[in-house]
């Protein structure tokens, strides 16, 4: 068995998520906030990436200010029309976040 999961599994998981009922799109963002994979159109992707990045930083900063040993694990933003779910990365500062519109 390979020490790390195969590419195929990751792709499969992404496909499954995308095919869930009600999911509009997935964006995967790297450390700097640049989207590396997306299922939405370019303009929306860039917009979302930029805006969400700042939000995540703020949220994480808030959580950690209260208790530095704590960390943000998941962030959901519910609005009237849809819900944005953000899963930030575990590493302290390198935000490889993936978030999607639902």
């Amino acid at each position: 068995m390979p020490p790390f999961p195969s590419q195929a599994e990751v792709e499969e998981t992404l496909k499954r998520i995308q095919s869930q009922n009600g999911v509009q799109g997935i964006i995967i963002v790297n450390t700097e906030g640049i989207p590396i994979k997306t299922t939405l159109d370019n303009a929306s992707t860039v917009q979302y990436a930029g805006l969400i990045h700042q939000l995540v930083m703020k949220a994480r900063s808030t959580v950690r200010d209260i208790d530095p040993q704590n960390d943000l694990t998941f962030l959901r933003v519910r609005s009237k029309k849809n819900e944005i779910m953000i899963a930030p990365d575990k590493d302290a500062f390198s935000n490889k976040t993936s978030f999607l519109l639902y």
């Binding site: 068995m1 390979p2 020490p3 790390f4 999961p5 590419q7 990751v10 998981t13 992404l14 499954r16 998520i17 869930q20 009922n21 009600g22 999911v23 995967i28 790297n30 450390t31 700097e32 640049i34 590396i36 994979k37 930083m57 900063s61 950690r64 200010d65 530095p68 040993q69 694990t73 998941f74 959901r76 519910r78 009237k80 819900e83 779910m85 899963a87 930030p88 990365d89 575990k90 590493d91 302290a92 500062f93 390198s94 490889k96 976040t97 993936s98 999607l100 639902y102």
Partner: protein, 764 residues
């Protein structure tokens, strides 16, 4: 000396009492009587004149002074005579400074007389020696001149009196006189020492030092004396050259200022502190990453310089950042393969699914179902509520959801089992038990949090017939297969090897299908450790074996051999005697169950329809034989609430309820004319059990009726129901069918009392 010191030319009305007294006492033994008052404020300048007094009055409020007459003991009038008599038309000296007064008056007095004033009398008090010449009356000058002894200062011959007159005339200066040219003669006064404190050398006892110092002092004094007029010393002046100034200009680039702000957040401080401790331990490879991260963090935190990098960063870190960013961009795939990304994906998937399944899961967990406030789907909810109202009266199974995915579609479910530690984890075995073809089968571990995709998928080479999770090691799953193999899988990690033990190498392994595997906690071992868990399997070859996990693999010990009875129709009441048929006449065992409290006793259901109660200790004899079924006993289970009661079901369409002591069944249940494949007690209620017979799921409630099942749920057409499982702590039941679906049903409207014992029901 005395006399000379006593000479005061003028009455010292203005003298300090102390001084006068002091001097007086110093200088003579005569006693003086003072008449009149003298205030401290009186200036030393003696002044008998009215003008002086006026000045003094201006300075301080004084009582008008009476003339003072000093008389010694002999009655001589030794009143100090006034030193100064102010002339009419004298310039008034400026009020204010004491010394100013002294000097001004002294200057004016200079003109007048050469009378001297005995300095010494004042010297010790004031430390000052006034200029020698003070004005006195002309009559007294002569006398005083002679009597003046030493003087500290040479007498400056006063300028001719004409000047004084001129001064006097100037007093009455008119405007015309202002235009006159006035000659002002400036002369240097003598060095006026205001204070002379002779050096007090603390003479230590050390003779060397003192002598040397004294000698040096003397030498120096000599030198000073000799300096004047000595050839060795010449006056010389120096001048430093100032170089010619030169202009020079310099130009620099404009220094650009940038404002930089940063937050010293609590977590930032904490992170830096942790990194400090971590960094010396971490490998080199990690270091550039961490530095990149932090410097990038700086950039992020700065925020004001969003497009430009902060000035504070060094060139080195800049380069690092660039290279790393390049790396990052070129390897988005790498990111996706990291574990943390996987985890993020997992969490994301579960969240979405939780969103979708929230009402169902809430119902499962017996939580209130929250209606989505933003849901736009209104008509559906209305329909559902209507349906709910209709079926609210009678007990029924309400379908919540089904565990299914493409992977498992079409498979036949053979076994389902909950994890002992994590009640959300379910292991399901899929496979076709076909004796002709050994088809590979599937084991899926599902989590309640994601009913759309299994957490783990294992492939087995043979059809899996039985599963059981271990209680001691909750991640271990025992698998019994159709070809007789027993394997232990670990479900812990997604990536590691799953099968940790396999019985295919064991010599005593089963060659026939293993129908059931059970983990069972045995008695406490001699070493007093935790209760050892043994894996016990019952197989179609008639053996009940106990398996142990050792370093080589699985080793087995025979616990019991199920022997065929001579005549299955005979009712063997006490079959403790051995049958004479020995050897290979073993009957397949189909199911087994360990006693819930006494783990050394277990029941085995056989192909012949016998139920044998056996003991772990005794491997030759059975304890009891319960005979009623005449077809293979498919399933057997002790009641979790009543320790003496157990249920058995068989292909002879019946379900029998037994009590341990009684060899005949207490109750018998028949509902449909089909073989009953499985029967399960409910872990939550003592009087409820479920049974499946291929086409329907029956829920029996012994409280309500012993003749008919309370709930009968038909399977979908074409689908056979193959396994059933209750879930602990909630009123749901899982049903597995031949389509690969595990459907979760909720028992609705089952009015059950929890504390009732089956025995009560039985007895009534």
């Amino acid at each position: 000396m005395k006399k000379s010191s006593l000479v005061f030319n003028s009455s010292s009305r203005a003298m300090n009492t102390s001084v006068a007294g002091h001097q007086v006492s110093q200088s003579s033994r005569h006693k003086w009587n003072f008449a009149g008052s003298q205030t401290r404020r009186n200036s030393i300048l003696v002044g008998g004149s009215n003008r002086k007094r006026n000045i003094l009055d201006r300075n301080a409020n004084q009582a008008p002074r009476k003339p003072v007459r000093v008389l010694d003991n002999d009655g001589n009038d030794v009143t100090p005579l006034p030193l100064y008599h102010a002339e009419p038309g004298d310039m008034p000296s400026k009020p204010g400074r004491f010394l100013d007064e002294i000097f001004s008056s002294s200057e004016s007095d200079q003109l007048k007389s050469t009378s001297s004033f005995n300095m010494r009398s004042f010297g010790s008090f004031l430390g000052s020696s006034l200029p020698s010449s003070l004005s006195t009356t002309a009559s007294m000058t002569k006398g005083t001149e002679d009597s003046v002894p030493k003087l500290d200062i040479p007498i400056i011959p006063p300028p001719p009196c004409g000047q004084r007159k001129r001064d006097n005339v100037k007093q009455h200066v008119t405007e015309e006189m202002l235009d006159d040219v006035v000659d002002v003669c400036l002369t240097e006064t003598d060095t006026i020492s205001l204070f002379d404190l002779p050096p007090l050398i603390f003479m230590s006892e050390d003779a060397d030092d003192t002598k040397a110092i004294k000698e040096r002092n003397l030498q120096y004094a000599e030198l000073c004396k000799n300096r004047t007029g000595n050839d060795k010393y010449v006056e010389r002046s120096m001048q430093t050259f100032s170089g010619a100034p030169k202009e020079k200009q310099i130009q620099t680039d404009k220094i650009v200022m940038v404002d930089e702000g940063t937050f010293a957040t609590i977590w930032d401080i904490y992170d830096s502190f942790c990194d400090q401790n971590k960094n010396p331990e971490s490998e080199k490879a990690n270091n550039p990453e961490t530095t990149v991260n932090t410097s990038k963090g700086h950039e992020k935190r700065g925020e004001k310089s969003s497009s430009t990098l902060s000035i504070g960063s060094t060139i080195g870190s800049l380069l690092e950042m660039e290279t790393c960013s390049l790396n990052a961009e070129s390897n988005p795939e790498l990111i996706m393969l990291t574990e943390s990304f996987q985890h993020s994906l997992l969490v994301m998937e579960r969240s979405i699914v939780a969103n979708l399944f929230q009402p169902k899961l809430a119902a499962y967990r017996q939580l209130p179902i929250i209606k989505d406030p933003d849901s736009t789907v209104k008509p559906e909810t209305e329909e559902k509520s209507e349906e709910g109202e209709e079926s609210s009266s009678s007990p029924t199974l309400e379908r919540l959801w089904a565990f299914s995915c493409e992977l498992t579609r079409g498979w036949n479910i053979t076994c389902m089992v909950w994890n002992k530690e994590n009640p959300d984890l379910l292991a399901v075995a899929y496979g076709d038990c076909d004796s002709t073809n050994q088809k590979p089968s599937l084991i899926c571990c599902w989590s309640l949090k994601n009913p759309t995709w299994p957490e783990r998928v294992f492939h087995c080479h043979s059809c899996v017939t039985s599963l059981d999770f271990s209680a001691n090691n909750p991640s271990q799953l025992a698998v019994g297969m159709y070809d007789g193999t027993i394997a232990i899988y670990t479900v812990q990690s997604r990536n590691n090897i799953h099968c940790i033990a396999n019985s295919s190498e064991c010599s005593k392994r089963h060659l026939k299908p293993v129908w059931q595997v059970n983990w069972s906690k045995q008695e406490i071992t001699l070493s007093g450790e935790d209760r050892v868990e043994a894996l016990v399997a019952v197989s179609a070859d008639g053996r009940i074996t106990k398996w142990l996990l050792c370093s080589n693999g699985l080793e087995c010990i025979d616990l019991m051999k199920l022997k065929k009875t001579k005549n299955s129709k005979k009712k063997a009441v006490e079959s403790k005697k051995k049958t004479e048929h020995m050897g290979s006449a073993l009957t397949p065992g189909l199911c087994m169950d360990f006693h819930p409290t006494d783990s050394s006793v277990y029941l085995v259901g056989t192909w012949e329809g016998l139920i044998q109660k056996c003991s772990v200790a005794n491997c030759h004899n059975v304890l009891e034989t319960y005979q009623n079924h005449f077809c293979p006993v498919n399933s057997i289970e002790w009641s979790p609430f009543s320790p003496d009661v157990f249920l058995s079901c068989s292909s002879d369409w019946t379900i029998q309820l037994w009590k341990q002591e009684c060899l005949t069944p207490v109750l018998s249940f028949t509902s449909a004319q089909r073989a009953v494949y499985a029967v399960r007690w409910s872990p939550n209620w003592s009087t409820i059990f479920a049974a499946i017979n291929g086409l329907q799921v029956e829920i029996w409630d012994l409280n309500l009726s012993i003749l008919h099942p309370t709930i009968v749920h038909q399977a979908a057409p074409g689908v056979t129901v193959t396994s059933v499982l209750f879930s602990r702590g909630t009123d749901c039941v899982l049903v597995g069918d031949s389509e690969g679906q595990v459907t979760v049903y909720q028992l609705k409207n089952l009015s059950v009392g929890q504390g009732k014992q089956v025995t009560k029901a039985v007895n009534t």
